[in-house]
């Protein structure tokens, strides 16, 4: 047993070695990444070891928590603590995306117009790149030997619109799955959870197709100036979060199939559902600010 509960119901888990495993894993992974970026071959090996340790930690840590939850060691108070934790974790993620949305806003409303000769900052335009024009989407960067030209950007009403439909419907299916869990209709729960994951995976495939298209035919890459930078960093981090969300949903699906969760006690499910909705909302922001406007 790894925890104790006093007569009053406070739950305090005791010593855990998973955090230190996690720290060593992150250290090996990121230290290795840094070495690799500096061109040292040993870095990649270190990254692989780091990822393995990270996976062991995640399996071990979440496994412990799931076991404790299923044996009924968590009371209502622990449940609420988890909820507070998840809500503010998601908020911190929102702020991470905010930095990149902020960069997009700054580029469109300040740096690109200034480089195009507007306002009090016209000197750069005048003396460095006098032929540079302020247009958005920015296809031609000020210095085209450093940052390549874009032939065409991706319009909103093709794959991005489809992706929006996919993610929005996945938000509906996960809610139906949740209703199934609450009414103890396990068939409905499993089916709609599976559908949610499927929609997420299709989204990722569409996004992957779009990236290949952008790189090979449109000349839209990470190297193509501020448009490519903001486009790929925003959609890329979003895609990473969809991947993470889909993995978490898959874990939840396996747990559902094993008969975990009760109609009134299923924070694991809800936490992941919140995360999925957050990913959904970020996409809406992307669709509007990256693709449409």
């Amino acid at each position: 047993m790894s925890g104790s509960q006093s007569a009053s119901g406070y739950y305090v888990p005791h010593g855990s070695h998973w955090p230190i495993v996690g720290s060593i894993a992150l250290f090996t992974l990121l230290g290795g990444f840094a070495l690799a970026l500096n061109g040292y071959g040993i870095g990649k090996g270190s990254m692989v070891i780091g990822v393995i340790f990270l996976l062991i930690m995640l399996f071990g840590w979440f496994g412990t928590v799931i076991r404790e939850s299923e044996t009924g060691m968590y009371n209502g108070q622990v449940d609420v603590s988890f909820r507070w934790g998840m809500v503010w974790f998601i908020f911190s993620e929102v702020m991470f995306f905010a930095a990149f949305f902020g960069a997009l806003y700054y580029a469109r409303h300040f740096s690109v117009p200034w480089l195009g000769g507007e306002g009090a900052k016209a000197a750069t335009h005048q003396f460095l790149w006098s032929s540079f024009e302020n247009v958005w989407p920015l296809k031609s960067t000020p210095n085209q030997t450093l940052f390549t030209q874009i032939k065409e950007v991706i319009g909103p009403w093709g794959i991005p619109a489809l992706n929006t439909a996919l993610l929005l419907s996945s938000g509906v299916t996960i809610t139906i799955a949740h209703w199934g869990l609450q009414k103890n209709k396990r068939g409905q729960l499993n089916l709609f959870l599976f559908l949610t994951i499927a929609l997420g995976v299709i989204f990722l495939f569409c996004q992957g197709y779009e990236y290949i298209h952008a790189y090979h035919e449109l000349g839209l890459t990470l190297h193509s100036g501020i448009y490519g930078s903001t486009f790929f960093m925003l959609t890329g981090f979003h895609g990473l979060h969809v991947t993470l969300g889909a993995i978490m949903l898959t874990v939840i699906l396996f747990r559902c199939l094993k008969g975990h969760f009760k109609p009134h006690h299923h924070f694991g499910f809800e936490g992941v559902a919140w995360y999925w909705h957050f990913v959904d909302v970020v996409w809406l922001g992307l669709f509007i600010f990256v693709y449409i406007l």
Binding site: L26, W84, F96, F100, T124
Partner: protein, 525 residues
Amino acid sequence: MSHSHAAHDEHHDRAPSGLMRWVTTTNHKDIGTLYLSFSLLMFFVGGTMAMVIRAELFQPGLQFVDPQFFNSMTTIHALVMIFGAVMPGFVGLANWMVPMMIGAPDMALPRMNNWSFWLLPFAFILLLSTFFMPGGAPAGGWTMYAPLVMQTGDAFPFLIFAVHILGISSIMGAINIIATVFNMRAPGMTFMKLPLFVWTWIITAFLLIASMPVLAGAVTMLLTDRFFGTSFFSAAGGGDPVMYQHIFWFFGHPEVYIMILPAFGVVSAIVPTFARKPLFGYSSMVYATASIAFLSFIVWAHHMFTVGMPLAGELFFMYTTVLIAVPTGVKIFNWVATMWKGSMTFETPMLFALGFIVMFTIGGFSGLMLGVTPADFQYHDTYFVVAHFHYVLVTGAVYSIMAAVYFWLPKWTGHMYDEKLGKLHFWLSTIFVNVLFFPQHFLGLAGMPRRIPDYNVQFADWNMVSSIGGFMFGLSQLLFVYIVIRCVRGGQKATAQVWEGAHGLEWTLPSPPPYHSFTTPPVVK
């Protein structure tokens, strides 16, 4: 379900022994001790770098280190002191005190609490190992401005990832404090009954959660600009180096309040205790803290007045900046009003708290001067700025941590520290910290630039004075370590209440308190 576990309580109440106790612990007091010890260690690591800086600046000309290494010293000194000494110091205090103050057995998410701490040593191994890399440690300043920081050698990605790990640690620590305060309060402990230290820490936690991810985003953009071809901070691709400064300071200004709001909480605990009067204007203190936190998100560009912003921006950020003086003034006046006609005694924690009030206010006033745009054009990047932020961070944040340590050490260890030595530590520190930093105001106003290893001979006298103050201040801190270690080892037994005027749940527990603070919730009336 609870009965079988309850039977094990006796067994579990004993801490496991050996090194693994500290590595695997989920106990808020153990983790608090780890944080505070780590903070002290980093205080001396960063302090050693400060000594190198002051030694080089003792006389004009280049004496001991080459300019590149000097720049590494200023850069890493700042990162170590901010992320290694001050922030972990306050998190350590929160770990120890918040559960005891709200009547909880422990933090809400104890395993995550352990991870928050145990990420720190690894982040600092990444950061400090850069001294031994080709190109040396980062030398572009702790603010990591693009494009200068892009010239960092092999240290560059290590710097970025160290910041990422520190961010993860801080965010998890903040989430834990929010979950604890919102969910673990004893029955009857309503929000407006919370001790101010708890209040200031929740607000700090919100600042952390809102600002640290933005820093993570900023350094991620640096990383991709350097290695993956993006052009966020390169005008050649349509980006802007100034954009980095905006994103960085959107984090950076809330960060300075992250380092000072908990200090306000500490002082608000100590002053009423030794004035033997309840805190004057409790609710106004809460609202003032919240206002400062809100304002801290709309003042960031006061760090960038000289970078070339539209006039409207210069004015907006000037007005919002000086507006912060209002809630801060409310706090100062409340502390003074608390002491008014109190029956005061001047034990060491009170001395440090009073030192805080006076010297933090000096730092606040120089901050106001810097906040005035046209004046800042003169002061920007001079030693006046260095003097300003060391008054708020050393005689502000660090003084409050020392005050807190003296205040709560008897509670933590069960022993009284040596009062005579404590007072000696205060007076030595206070005299020499002023010898160290006050002349830097003059140097700055006379035009001496910061972050430069050499200077014009006209600045020689005050630099020598400042360096002497620096060495003596540094030496005085060894006395602090001696006092703390002696107190941990033994000394006169402390009572549960410790101080005659102390009030609050933490003083109802014995000194030292049991391993799990409140296993049955106390009822607060």
